[in-house]
Each structure stands twice: as C-alpha cells, then as structure tokens.
Amino acid sequence: MRFGILVFPGTWSDTDCHHAVSGVLGQEADYIWHKADSVDGYDAIIVPGGFSYGDYLRAGAIARFSPVMGAVRDFADAGGLVIGICNGFQILCEAGLLPGALRRNGHLEYRCQWTHLRTESANTPFTSRCGVGQPLAVPVSHGEGNYYADASTIARLEEQGRILFRYCEPDGVVTDAANPNGSVDNIAGIINEGRNVLGMMPHPERSCEALLGSDDGNLIFGSMIDAVSAR
C-alpha cells in the first residue's frame, strides 16, 4: 500500500514514520509538502509529530490552515485512513476532524518516556492486529498531550467505542500513575465517528523495532495495511 506523510515546516516525525512504514514494514511511502492541494493516490495519510510552525500560538493551530489540510479532510470524508500522531493529533483536533483538545501537560513539563497503551477496541482499521485489553509499549514525547473534552463528548466517545487507547501499566491495568500528562480518563488516542481517522499522542513509529525497545507500533501500522488490502 502507499502511505502519504504530510510535512509542515517544523514537522520532525516525518522521516521516522517513513522509516517505520517503508524501511521496516516494506510499504511505499511519500512525503507530501503542506502546500500540496491534493492527496490523491494514497491509501492512508500520516500526520506526523513535530512542532508545525513552531506550535506558536497553539499546537496545531496554524497547520490546520495549510492547503493540504483541505485535501486531507476530503480524503477522510471519503473514508480514507488518516492517522495523526502527537502534533498530528493536535492538528486533527484543531481542524475539527476529531473532537476535543490537547492541553498542556498537567505537571506543566515536557515528557519523553515509555508508556503502555491499553487497546480498548480491536474493531477498527488501526487495531485489528491487537487484542482487546492488550498493552502496547509505545513512547510519548510532548508538552501538550493532556486530552480534554467535555463530559458529554467523553460519554459519547465511550459509548461509541471510539476511545482506542488508554495509558496503562505494563500489565494493562489503567492507573493514575500510568498517565503521563493528566489526560481525561487516561485517554491516549481516539477515532472519529467514521472510524477511519485516528489521533494519538504516543509515537507508534518509535516502537517498530526490537532494537529500539519495542515493536508494538507495527501492530498499528500493520492493522492499517490489513484494512487497505481487505478493501
């Protein structure tokens, strides 16, 4: 399959995502400059991490106005797979493709560390290779990953099975201590109502090789490959 990886000024996980899906998983992958007005020809779009436009003003707030984001919205509306990682999650929230917002971490510090994610639903194109409840070792690196949405939105996400990942202990138990940023209900990743757009703060592209500590991230990208090839 063919991944398209967006590049904004200030993006830095673009090459890491490229290495993961192409170098490790052997798929085709291209970079898409933020001034492009089309994402035609791609099976999935990755909105990678970084500090798009320096995150000046607010994380993701400027990137959402880049020309490519209009194309990404059309792509998502047509059912295309979109995964937003870290700054990509922030951009998707700012663009209205996902509900809620990412606030500054509760302890006010940037955090780069390994976390574990409890897979809450396997019935999505991003988690079909995971079991429900399976903990995935995936690291975080952010200063503003504290997911927030109002109570009714959280209830709706819960009800529709759209909370995909929660921060948990290595054994899969969800605890306050396992939450690196203070996010509501330990939320680490959510999907849209159409179940084709995922936003997550942790970096699955950093956990695709055992040499680097974990290859659990392959389960997420691998699920996407399965979903596309099943079409």
Partner: protein
C-alpha cells in the same frame, strides 16, 4: 579617532592590542573596523590564550577527515562511506544572564556548527554546572537552563541523549552550560566553510538581523562580569522553529551540489562568518550591509556587522547557481539574499550601498595576538593535595552513608531532567539517558552504532589539573567502553577562570598537557573544541573544568551493554583492581569526601596503561556477549556503582525489575579497616561487570592473560544489597534515595 579606555573595555581589547591594530593598518581604525577587530580578537573567536596550548593535543588519527580548527567541527570516518561530525561549545555567560535563552541559543549555535559541515544533526548532549541547589537563585538557573535546552532541542527534532550535571559553590556565579552536537553525513557530501573562489556570491539565509547579541563574543564570552544587569541586551533570543527549517533548507540546498561553502553565524555574527570563510579560502570578501535583511530599522553598520541574531547561515555559490539555491530557501519560506561576493584580493571590504564603512586585510583581522604566559600553581595548591586518611573520621554507618551519597545532588539520578528532553526522535536511540554509561545510536542502513558521552570532573582538576584532566579523558572513553564502543575521537570545551592570572594559566596549561598525555595513551585525538575563559566573579574562579565529549563505534549495534544488573544469579566482577584498596589517593576529590565531610582535598592518581587494558578487555567481553552489564565506578565509588546497578535492574520497558546484590564471604572478610575509603573511594580505571557464573572461570583467566586485575565481588540475588557486617539495605530504599535525590534537592 580618540579611543578611550571605556570603548576598549566595551570590546575587551587592551591598549597594547589597539596599538597593534593601528600598527597593522598604519592608521587608526574606524568604529566599525575596531568592532570587527574586537570581536575577532576576542578570546571566544581568537583563542588568544588557549591556541598555543591547544597545539599540544593530538588531533589526527587514521579516521580523522578534517584538521581540528580547519572547519567548524571535527569529522571522523566510521566506515561505510559515512562521517560523524561532532563538537562541544560553551554558552556559559549568556546562560548566567538569561538561563532559558542562553541555554537555548547555546544548543542552536552548536547545531549550526554541525550543519555547516553538511551533516544532519542526530544527537545533542550537554554538560552543566551550577551552584548548590539549596539556593533559590541556583535552582532558578537550573530550571531556566533545562527549560531552554528542552524547548530548543525538542522543537528542532534532534534527540538529547546524554549529559551530566554537577553542583558546587564555585559555579554559583558562573554556571557552565556546554552543549555538544553530533551529526552524520556521507563523506563525499561533507561541506566546506572555505570561500575560495573569487566571484562567488555570498548569500545570507535565515533570520533577519537585529540588535540582539551585539558584543556577545567580546563582552560576554571573553571577560569576567560583575554587573549582569548591564549585559542583558547582549543575550540572543532563539527561534527553534526557524532553526528546524534552516536545517532542512541548508541540507536540501547542499544536496543540489550548487553550494560551494557554508558557514554558520555564531559569535561575532556576520563579521566572523564572512571573514573566517574568506580566511579559510585564502581570499577576500566584499559585503554590502545594505543588502542584509533586518528585523529592526535604523541599525548602524556597526550593529549589522556585529549582531549575533540567531538562526543565520552564510553560503557561497557561483553566480549561475544562486537562483536554484534561493528556490530551495523560498520553498522553506526562509529569506536568502545575496549580501556580497568573494574577492581575489585578501581584503575584507564592507560597504553600506556604495559607501565603504570598513576595510582591512583578512589576515590582520583573523591573526589574533597569541599569549603564552607563565603559569604557577597557587600558594595553597600543595596544601590542598595533602590528605591523610587519619584526618578523615570514619562514619558511624555504612548503609546510611550510602543512602546519603545516593540522594546527594551530584550522584542522584538525572531522570527528572532528561525525561523533559526528547531522547528518541529520529528513531536511532538504542541506549538512552540513564540506561547505560553512554548513549548508543544505531546508524540506519548499516549494522553499526555510535556511542556518545560527555564528562568532566572539576574537583579533581582543581586538586591536580594535570592528573585530573587525564582522568576526564579516561572517564569519557571508559564510559564509551562500558557500552561496548571503541573510542574514536574526542571534542573538548575548556572552562577556566581568567588566564591572565598565573594560577589560572597554570591550570589551563597543566590540564591541556594532561589531556594530551591521556589522549596519546588511549589512542584518541581531539578533533574539535572550544575555550571558555574568564569564568570568574569577584576574583573567584570556577574549578578548572575541561569538559570532554567522546565518540565511539560499535560494529554490531546489537552487541551493546547497559549498566543495570539484568537478572539474578550472575557473578559481579570488578575489573581494574585485584582487591579493594583504601588509599588516601582514592578519596582525593571524591564525592564522599565532598558530601559527607565537606572536603575537597587530596591528590588523585591514574595509571593510563592499566586504563587502556581495562577498557579493551571490557569491550571484548561485550563484543563476545559475555558481559551482561557494565558500569564504571566513578562518583561515589564502588558502593554507589553497585547500588546503581541494582536500582537500574533489568531496565525492561515492559516492567523494569530491580535486582539485589550479595557480597562474597571472601570480599566481606577482606574489606579494609577503612571501609569508607574502600566503598566510597574513587580509584580510577575500574569497571563493574555482571557475567554468567559458569563463564566466570574463563573470564578471570582471560583477564589475567590480558594483564587486567579483577576481583569477584559477589552475585546478583534477591531484593537487597548486602555486604555482611557493613550494610544490608532493600534495593527499594536505594532506588528511593537515588531517583528522589535530585527532585528533593530542587524542591
């Protein structure tokens, strides 16, 4: 022009140096010229006091690709057609004045040094020194510096993989912020900073030029400073977002093959970048400051030439290549404008439109005077070295002393700091901060990995600069060896007081001589570096603090080693000593003496031949898969090293487990009467390894054959650290003290 002492003081030139300028020009310099001379003849740019001594350091090996000083950073051939480029640089004084921006722009500056080599920055390291954390002012400096390093480094997507922090009173007024950057490039893609082709266009790319940082090089980096308030406007302000785009645009422009030379604008801004590029190429430059894009109006020529606005690069290219290069920068929304040309005649000519505002021979500008002074040790140097064990009382309790050391600010885990830095971006980090004695980064597309570490030990250098500096080189290479990497080359940052004082010059000279000796003995050249002198306030200097960054290579990235004990049932062996010693020299400058007894005394010693054998043997064990963990004995000595290995445990991401330790009966029986010196002494050249029990006999035999003394210390077992008769503590308590120590100190 009537030049007053005030003017000369402002640009940190002496009257004799001014007279030298008049003599060379055969006239009085105008203000712009004087500013240019002042900046280029500053200690920061001109190395007036350090350059003659730096020649003592070996700078070449079979792997060096550039001569130290000839380009912006040292380059090392790691095989597979790849070069690793690295350098450490100080940003001490700016960080003292404005810690967040000072540290941030220190990171930005060293990244551009690496970029100027045509290399992609792949790792950052830093070495920090502050006054004790019990003062709010020191805590504020630490927080600002850490925030600045994190803010800048995280935003540009270069992982911060290793570092060190130490506290001592001597750094209270003069904190040290040394930043190191490592980059990688294909050897044939290495860029040059030599503008050597007349007619080439000079392009200035990046941020608009403003009034920030004027006199940074001469004012901040080259003088002692008393009145920090007055210096505030000279600290630069960073824009990491622009830096990230500048990195990508410069690498993309270089990839077109159309860039002849690339140079960063650092200390002394456009003056230094343009003049030094011309000097490297043996040519001249003509600059029109009217073409320099600016962020403020009404700037004088003087201000434009000396501005230290960040995130700027100077490129040289043939006229026909300029449009293609500018197209790349346009894509990244970065301003890139022609500001001048390379000229045949070796003159620096600066104009404002058609009007000349400065003109001087390039050689006169760059050939700063060099001073070789007479150093002599301070009057109390001998007294400081006098240490007798009987003058040091034995503490009441070994366990309590161990916990006190583990929790002390100089020993405690740095986790609270490094987790604020992205240490994984670029997905190469195999061993990150805290997990091993050095960071290990795999090289994509090869089976190789590099290791990087940074070290310094001001206390030992204060007690004996010659031996202390040898120990710094030994420690950084030992840290590389402990992860399984062969040390290839070093970079150094020389942080000292005012070299015009004989006792400081003595420290500088002895330290460099000591480093040179250790480099030769251990087979590593120093390929890049920086000097930061004048680190003193109110007549009190910092400890002589040479900081050394090291680069090592692992041919097989998988054959690396962490510091923690991975499991129970392993034998723990000390390489480098056939018994536990308790000599006064082991305590010299030790953390134990400092923390428990409030003393900085003694005369350390090191055997470099033994050091080399121990490191080589440790690397062999790791390459052969025989060492399950390796950790050097440094701050806090053997007991602290064992406690750290227990606490780090298996370090597994899916649930880390600590591992206990039980000393052998034989060790327990043979603990010297001065157990404090044995447990907490910092005798050098010692590495703690864990090996499988059934391999122990063979390993000891090969150690013996390799001339490496070894002692069986005990085995990994249970959940306590036990040396019967001396201490018996739950690992949980050790971990609590070690992990909580720094945070508690910073509350």
């Amino acid at each position: 022009m009537p030049v007053t002492k005030e003017i000369l003081d402002e640009i940190a030139l002496s009257r004799a140096e001014y007279d030298m300028i008049v003599d060379r020009l055969d006239r009085e310099p105008n203000p712009v010229e004087l500013g240019m001379f002042g900046a280029l003849w500053s200690e920061h740019c001109g190395y007036k006091h350090s350059r003659p001594l730096l020649g003592l350091l070996p700078s070449r090996s079979s792997r060096t690709l550039s001569q130290a000083g000839a380009e912006n950073a040292g380059a090392i051939d790691i095989g597979n057609g790849l070069a690793v480029v690295f350098k450490v640089e100080s940003h001490n004084h700016p960080s003292a004045v404005e810690p967040l921006q000072g540290a941030a722009t220190g990171v930005g500056g060293i990244v551009r040094d690496i970029l100027a080599m045509g290399a992609r920055p792949i790792a950052l390291l830093n070495s920090l020194r502050f006054g004790p954390p019990d003062s709010a002012a020191n805590r504020r400096l630490l927080k600002g510096v850490v925030d600045g390093i994190g803010w800048y480094g995280n935003c540009i997507g270069v992982p911060d993989v290793a570092g060190e922090i130490y506290f001592d009173d001597c750094y209270a007024q003069n904190p040290l912020v040394n930043a190191m950057c490592v980059g990688i490039a294909r050897i044939e893609d290495l860029a040059s900073a030599a503008a050597d082709r007349p007619g080439d266009v000079l392009l200035l790319a990046g941020a608009g030029t403003g009034r920030d940082g004027i006199h940074g090089a001469s004012g901040l980096a080259s003088r002692t400073f008393e009145e920090e308030q007055e210096l505030r406007p000279t600290v630069q302000v960073g824009n990491p977002f622009l830096e990230k785009s500048l990195i990508e645009a410069c690498l993309e422009a270089l990839a077109t093959g159309r860039v002849r030379a690339l140079q960063d604008l650092g200390a002394a801004g456009l003056t230094s970048a343009a003049v030094e590029s011309a000097a490297r190429g043996g040519r001249g430059i003509a600059l029109d400051i009217n073409q320099v894009h600016r962020r403020e109006s009404g700037m004088t020529g003087y201000e434009v030439m000396l501005s230290e606005s960040q995130e700027r690069m100077l490129l040289a290219a043939a006229p026909e290549n300029v449009p293609a290069i500018r197209e790349v920068f346009d894509k990244w929304d970065i301003v890139c404008r022609p500001v001048g040309a390379v000229t045949e005649a070796p003159y620096a000519l600066v104009t404002d439109g058609a009007q000349p505002i400065a003109s001087a021979p390039v050689a006169h500008l760059t050939d700063a005077p060099r001073y070789r002074l007479d150093g002599r040790p301070s009057a109390d140097a001998a007294e400081r070295q006098r240490l007798r064990l009987r003058d040091v009382p034995v503490p009441a309790d070994a366990g309590a002393t161990l916990l006190q050391l583990l929790a002390s600010p100089n020993v405690a885990s740095r986790q609270g700091v490094y987790r604020q830095y992205d240490h994984q971006v670029q997905t190469n980090t195999v061993v990150g901060p805290g997990a091993g004695d050095a960071a290990v980064l795999r090289i994509k597309g090869t089976s190789q990995a590099i290791a990087v570490a940074i070290d310094g030990n001001g206390r030992q250098c204060f007690l004996d600069p010659y031996r202390g500096a040898q120990m710094v080189v030994a420690e950084v290479t030992r840290n590389l060896s402990c992860v399984g990497a062969e040390p290839l080359a070093l970079t150094d940052c020389l942080n000292f007081g005012n070299p015009e004082r004989p006792e400081i010059y003595y420290q500088l000279e002895q330290s460099i001589r000591g480093m040179a000796r250790a480099c030769r003995a251990l087979g590593v050249p120093v390929v890049s570096g920086n000097a930061s002198l004048y680190n003193e306030s109110q007549g009190t200097a910092i400890f002589p603090t040479p900081i050394v960054g090291g680069l090592g290579l692992l041919e097989d990235a998988r054959r690396h080693c962490g510091a923690g004990f991975p499991e129970a049932g392993l034998a723990v062996v000390l390489l480098g000593a056939d018994q536990l010693t308790a000599r006064a020299s082991d305590l010299a400058g030790s953390e134990y003496l400092n923390t428990v007894h409030g003393l900085v005394k003694g005369r350390p010693r090191i055997d470099l031949a033994l050091e080399r054998r121990v490191q080589g043997f440790c690397r062999r064990l790791i390459a052969d898969g025989l060492a399950k963990s390796a950790h050097d004995c440094s701050d806090g000595g053997l007991a602290v090293a064992v406690a750290e290995c227990c606490t780090l445990g298996n370090g597994r991401i899916d649930g880390s487990r600590t591992v206990g330790f039980v000393a052998t009966d034989e060790l327990t029986r043979n603990i010297p009467a001065r157990w404090d010196a044995a447990l907490f002494g910092e005798a050098t050249s010692r590495i703690l390894i864990a090996v499988e029990l059934d391999r122990l006999g063979g390993i000891l035999a090969s150690a013996d054959a390799a001339g490496v003394p070894a002692t069986i210390l005990g085995r990994t077992e249970g959940e306590r650290m036990r040396i019967d008769g001396l201490l018996d503590l739950p690992v949980e308590d050790l971990a609590g003290a070690w992990f909580g120590g720094l945070n508690n100190a910073l509350q």
